[in-house]
Amino acid sequence: MACAGMMFFWQWMMLKLLRGSAAFLAALLAWAAASASGLVSGFLLPSPMVVFDALVELVRDGSLVRHTAISVQRVLLGYALAVLIALPLALTFSLLPRLKAILEPLLEFLRQIPPLALVPLLILWLGIGEAQKVGIILLACFFPIFLAALGGISQADPKLIEVGHSCHMPPLEILLRIILPASLPAVVIGLRIGLGYSWRALVGAELIASSAGLGYLIVDAENLARTDIVLAGVVVIGVLGLIADMLAKAAIKRLAPWINANAELSFV
């Protein structure tokens, strides 16, 4: 059974890759053509082969794996913390409208501030270690997750809730069996947007102050005038983001098949 599931997963991945790779291939060809024709300097835009060589070199000396592992670890930690804070807080707010009324203006204020603007403060408060990076990721993905969950809960269809009332369901059961499942599509959107935000914020944080991670890899290569490594780093970041989103979609399909995992993110 598990084997069949894996087979299905890989087939699904291959199909996705085939369909999605056409545009990538076209972009790659255009890039190669631009480099080969000599229209752009090889320093400003190294050819795909040079970038590929740089990638191989990074893999061979182990630095790519090391930097990627550090970045992924930071994302996972910051994202998990954001989820653990945002979802219970959203639930608490929905249950206690008065608390929500008191805290909402403050949260609205905080929401307007881009996490990167807080980097100087975070460095002063948390140093330039892991805590600061995790803090930035947390700030970046907290609001999409929190607001989506809050909206999802408050917009649970009152007609479905009335079904619970009509068979005299106690409030806690209505919350657990109707409101929370009904809010799931909105929560899932928040979780996916949050994942994307956390990844972007991480690289930003690593560009500013770091000694490891993919952002550091890029800024270090820039200092050494190695545009090929810069591009290799950019490619890795993009690919990892894509994989994360595909895994998230696959998880939604498996855990909540009634949610249309493809349609819901078309506006992002």
Binding site: L160, V163, H165, S166, C167, E173, P181, A256, W258
Partner: protein, 252 residues
């Protein structure tokens, strides 16, 4: 089954008092099939909400036999199925976690069989047609083994064929399980085809009750059914006419 005495329900709509139901007197015996007919906004749904306990009367009283609240099954205008649950889980929604799972399973099986959906127990709501979804909603009410079954224009959004089918099914369920049924509709023909008694509501007031002593199953094209349809319709139109001329006089 129940007796309503001077039952009144007022709502406040943007600061103005609106009487949804005023001084309604109605007595319905156990096991009866009552249909309530009237134009939209005449207080039909309010009556059901009062009977189900979803809302409380402003004044007047509602007394049930043996002065205890009966088990109530409620079927809404729309199916209102939980999109994350399959047909069987939706049918058992109101009794799951309250009764032993063996009992839940038995009742769900029975109810789905009764509405003809045994083959679709595993289907998800988004795979169902409108008529099938509404039958799941009826099954969800039936698993409660209701003494009082309330239906609020349940077939209003269905095509004529599906509607006729479900009307016949409902009559069979009533004959088989013998709950007291209060069925609300704005369709006079539907009210006459289904009800033993038709209660005519106009602007929150009971205009008349009309007994229909015809055997089931009834055919809408039958002349005797048509006779009763005309009688009910005439009285409703008259009530409407009287009210309109009264407003004219008041304005003049």
């Amino acid at each position: 089954m129940f007796e309503a005495r001077a039952l009144t329900k007022d709502y406040s709509v943007s600061g103005r008092k609106v009487s949804a139901l005023s001084a309604l007197d109605l007595s319905v015996p156990k096991g009866a099939f009552l249909t309530v007919v009237g134009r939209s906004g005449c207080g039909k749904t309010t009556l059901l909400r009062l009977l189900s306990g979803l809302t409380r009367p402003t004044s007047g009283c509602l007394e049930f036999d043996g002065s205890r609240t009966p088990r109530v099954g409620y079927v809404f205008q729309e199916p209102r199925l939980m999109p994350w649950l399959n047909v069987a889980q939706n049918a058992g929604f109101c009794i799951a976690r309250r009764l032993p799972s063996v009992e839940v399973e038995r009742r769900v099986e029975d109810a789905l069989c009764l509405v003809g959906l045994s083959q679709f127990a595993e289907a998800m709501p988004n795979e169902l047609s409108g008529g099938m979804a509404q039958r799941v909603a009826i099954a969800r009410a039936l698993v409660l083994e209701p003494e009082l079954l309330l239906l609020d224009e349940p077939f209003g959004a269905l095509d004529a064929f599906t509607r006729r089918n479900l009307q016949q099914q409902l009559v069979q369920i009533w004959q088989h399980r013998a709950p007291t049924i209060v069925f609300v509709t704005h369709d006079v023909e539907e009210a006459v085809v289904l009800g033993q008694t038709v209660a005519e509501l106009d602007q929150g007031r009971l205009v008349a009750t009309h007994d229909i002593p015809l055997p089931y199953p009834r055919d809408a094209t039958d002349p005797s059914v048509n006779f009763h349809r005309r009688a009910v319709l005439d009285r409703l139109l008259k009530a409407d006419h009287v009210r309109q001329s009264q407003t004219h006089i008041r304005r003049a």
